[in-house]
């Protein structure tokens, strides 16, 4: 389906994952092409977040292969994977609530040691997310959900990643921020960062994605270019139990 796409940056092939005795993934295969936005759709408990955790090395699959830029990620620890160039925007933001906004953003540059460039990047983040400028010394936990999402995205960008994985970036946000977040994802992508995002909100995700996969009880039931899937009634049939987006 993505045969014509450029060489994949990230590839999961035939991944089986278990939590105890319960199987979460059944032969999962996903590819993210260089420079693309790929979106993984699915209902709650379909295995979406676990896919994120597999990529980040937080959960180890029982079998299958995960490669990034041609090299296997299996056997690497999460910090090692981050050093390879994958940053993340976790579900529900997961900021360091008692640290300041500035400290949170700078934590994103933890794997870097080039102090001056880090300072420049911080300035860049403040142009990209102007609202955060006035909030730098506030406790991150005191921000609104939308502002926290901005911090989480700035934090992820600070590592100068080649790819960002995002877990439900629009969850719990007001419409205004949803727009803003989607726009930012596009901007980030246009600067050359590949994006792999997990979303429940199919219509939103399909707006900005290049390709999409639909996950249902741990199996990919549908995949293809986002434009094609957008009007495909099977998307809704497949994972919303035959209804519209939820």
């Amino acid at each position: 389906m993505t045969a014509s796409a450029p060489e994949p940056l990230l590839a999961l092939s035939n991944v089986d994952t278990f939590y105890g005795q319960a199987q979460v993934h059944f032969g999962l295969s996903i590819t993210v092409a260089r420079g693309h936005i790929v979106c993984l759709l699915g209902g709650n408990a379909s295995g979406k977040s676990t896919t994120m955790k597999i990529i980040l090395g937080l959960v180890k699959p029982r079998s299958g292969e995960v490669t990034f830029d041609g090299a296997s990620l299996l056997g690497l620890s999460t910090p090692q994977i981050v050093r390879r160039g994958i940053a993340s925007v976790p579900e529900a933001r997961r900021l360091f609530a008692d640290m300041s906004v500035r400290e949170n953003i700078l934590m994103g540059a933890f794997v870097r040691n080039d102090r001056e460039a880090i300072a420049q990047d911080l300035d860049k983040m403040l142009t990209l997310f102007p609202k955060l400028g006035q909030r730098l010394s506030q406790r991150a936990g005191s921000l609104s959900g939308g502002e926290q999402q901005m911090v989480a995205m700035a934090r992820a960008l600070m590592s100068r990643p080649r790819m960002i994985v995002m877990d439900e970036p629009t969850m719990g946000l007001s419409p205004l921020y949803v727009d803003r977040v989607l726009e930012l994802i596009r901007t980030i992508n246009q600067e050359g960062v590949s994006v792999f995002m997990v979303e429940q909100n199919a219509s939103l995700a399909l707006e900005i994605a290049h390709e999409a996969y639909v996950l249902q009880t741990g199996k990919i039931v549908l995949s293809g270019p986002a434009r094609a899937l957008k009007d495909d009634p099977r998307v809704r049939d497949a994972y919303l139990g035959g209804s519209e987006a939820a």
């Binding site: 105890g20 980040l56 937080l58 620890s77 999460t78 910090p79 981050v82 050093r83 940053a87 993340s88 976790p90 997961r94 900021l95 360091f96 609530a97 008692d98 640290m99 400290e103 700078l106 934590m107 994103g108 933890f110 794997v111 934090r155 590592s159």
Partner: protein, 607 residues
């Protein structure tokens, strides 16, 4: 008579010492959500390394402090690397049990190396006192204050301005998110254990100098005091731990001023129980937190218990019953009597810790209550011994449950801390309530076991008696487990929130578990009292609580047959292999560690 200012100074100085321990506990809790029960052992190690440096190597004071800090830090790093890191992905009970095991191993190693006798640890500072108002202060007081303040400053700078310090803070707020920023959590853990151990070790050395005495009993006390201070300040809250420590130091010091020295610890533990019950998140915790949503079954590992056919159990029981008819030595019978007594305690603990998931570290207190009750009933009221033992069981069931009830609201590690403290409180009350318990003198001349007017003096009838009692208790407990109570207990253990949502009252069922278990433990203590004929407040100590816990883990949590098998193994095998008594506790600690690491479900599996 010292002045109030003296008591205040003393309280703040002691508080500084506690702070050095508590800050380490808070750092570790922050990063690992673990209460490090081995922190006191590192403090003990620090004190003894200080003694070696001062008395044998004659190092100057600044060098002594550095030597102690470095050596203790190395011990901390070893604990982290070999004791806890392998358990990273285990269920939550595993690291809890591991730090308990490590603590026992370290304490025993120190005891075996240096003997249990107290030693003097000179402070190397001039013996002068300066007059301050109507109190006095000495150079050692200033040193302790100086070390405390310097450590706090260094720690602040480290956490605030160093990259590793940022990693520690990030990891303690959200471990997974920190990993996703590239933070190597293993390095953070190393840093935290190293710092905690260095501070704890220096603290032990300073305390040794302050009282000019060190001994191996310091360890448990330090763990308890550090934990009290940390919990008062709010688990994982570093500044809170400092304030909690100073507060604890003052409370103790004023308590001593009013009531006398023997009440010092009683105040500390009462403070702990009060804080745990009223403000389990510490004095400084902000408003109500979101209710925690643990995934099911994460406290103990799921496993399928080994099913032993009934006929096999019957054959084994019959075999043990007719054993005295064969020409076996009294020594063998004596050993098995000890195993049966331990078996009763293990039955009690496996119900409480295994079936309903309350890992009690104060179970020896139930033995003590049963023993004192039975001894006093038979001695002062001339109650027949058989009835007195039952009375001991009933008293242990009632009083034990009442005492432990404040901890029913708690979970996981907190239950262990609370029961440990409650166990210490019982021991302190026995020590101080002289009019009833005869205080430190203990009770002597306790009449021997007797049944229907016949004294049981020789090993054979005692063997039969204790075996029969244990078998009856085991059968009753087996029956309990197959009743609706068995499944209710296990449901509460697996998920107390879901259990409550289906109408199970935690107070009611935890009480019933402690009543049933308390009776078995009290009977065991009662029988022991009549066998020993002399008991005092130290007869039933934490070592027995830990031994029972090791038995329970060995047999399989909640497993009745496992508890008995574990008792026979842990009492019998050291005899078979003729292991000297002083090495046994070391071996129990090592067995506990190996089990947690390699066979967490025990021999027969969790029920």
């Amino acid at each position: 008579m010292s002045s109030w200012l003296d008591y205040t100074i003393n309280g703040l100085i002691v508080g500084n010492v506690y702070a050095l321990v508590a800050v380490g506990l808070a750092l570790i809790f922050g990063v690992s959500r673990l209460i490090n029960f081995a922190q006191g052992s590192i403090y003990l190690v620090g004190a003894y390394i200080g003694w070696v440096a001062v008395v044998q190597l004659h190092t100057p004071l600044p060098l002594t402090i550095i030597v102690v800090a470095v050596a203790a830090a190395i011990v901390g790093l070893i604990i982290e690397r070999f004791g806890l890191r392998p358990l990273q992905n285990s269920v939550r009970i595993a690291p809890l049990l591991a730090t308990i095991g490590i603590s026992f191993v370290l304490d025993q190693l120190v005891m075996l190396t240096f003997s249990p006798n107290p030693r003097a640890l000179p402070s190397q500072l001039p013996e002068v006192r300066f007059q301050v108002g109507n109190g006095t202060i000495g150079p050692l007081d200033l040193l302790i204050a100086g070390v405390g303040i310097t450590s706090a400053l260094l720690l602040f700078v480290f956490l605030r301005y160093s990259k590793l310090g940022w990693a520690v803070r990030a990891a303690s707020q959200d471990r997974d998110a920190a990993m996703q920023m590239g933070v190597d959590v293993n390095r953070v853990n190393q840093a935290v254990f190293g710092i905690a151990a260095a501070l704890g070790g220096v603290s032990g050395m300073l305390v040794g100098m302050y009282y000019n005495q060190i001994d191996t009993a310091m360890s448990l006390q330090a763990t308890l005091k550090g934990v009290v201070a940390e919990v008062v300040g709010g688990a994982g809250n570093v500044p809170g731990a400092v304030i909690g420590s100073l507060l604890l130091g003052l409370v103790e010091s004023y308590g001593v001023a009013v009531f006398g020295t023997s009440y010092r610890n009683l105040f500390a533990f009462l403070l702990l129980v009060v804080v745990l019950v009223l403000r389990p998140n510490g004095l400084f915790a902000s408003a109500r937190q979101a209710p925690p949503e643990p995934l099911t079954g994460t406290f103990i590992a799921p496993s399928r218990p080994v099913r032993i056919p009934r006929w096999a159990l019957a054959v084994a029981a019959a075999g043990f019953a007719i054993l005295p008819l064969f020409p076996v030595s009294f020594y063998v019978l004596q050993t098995l009597i000890n195993a049966w007594l331990l078996g009763m305690l293990a039955l009690s603990l496996t119900l409480v810790a295994g079936t309903i998931g309350q890992v009690s570290l104060g179970h020896a207190a139930l033995l003590a209550i049963g023993a004192y009750t039975s001894a006093l009933l038979s001695l002062t009221l001339n109650v027949p011994v058989g009835l007195a033992v039952i009375g001991g069981g009933l008293m242990s069931a009632a009083l034990g449950t009442l005492l432990i009830s404040p901890s029913f609201r708690l979970r996981g590690h907190y239950v262990s801390i609370a029961t440990l403290a409650i166990g210490e409180i019982v021991s302190l009350v026995i020590l101080n309530w002289e009019s009833v318990t005869r205080g430190p003198i203990g009770i002597s001349g306790i009449p021997p076991l007797s049944l229907f007017g016949y004294d049981l003096i020789s090993p054979t009838p005692i063997y039969w008696f204790s075996f029969a009692v244990m078998v009856v208790l085991a059968l009753l407990q087996g029956r309990l487990l197959t009743s609706h109570l068995g499944r209710s207990f296990r449901a509460i253990r697996d998920d107390d929130i879901a259990a409550r949502a289906y109408g199970l009252s935690l107070n009611r069922y935890k009480s019933l578990a402690f009543i049933f278990g308390g009776f078995a433990a009290g009977v065991s203590g009662g029988i022991a009292a009549h066998l020993y004929s002399y008991i005092n407040h130290e007869t039933f100590n934490t070592q027995q609580s830990i031994l029972a816990l090791t038995v329970v883990i060995l047999g399989g949590l909640g497993n009745v047959v496992g508890a008995i098998l574990g008792s026979v193994a842990l009492v019998g095998l050291p005899e078979v292999f003729r292991i000297a008594a002083e090495y046994r506790i070391l071996i129990y600690g090592i067995v506990l560690l190996l089990l947690v690491r390699f066979r967490p479900q025990g021999l027969l599996g969790t029920m």
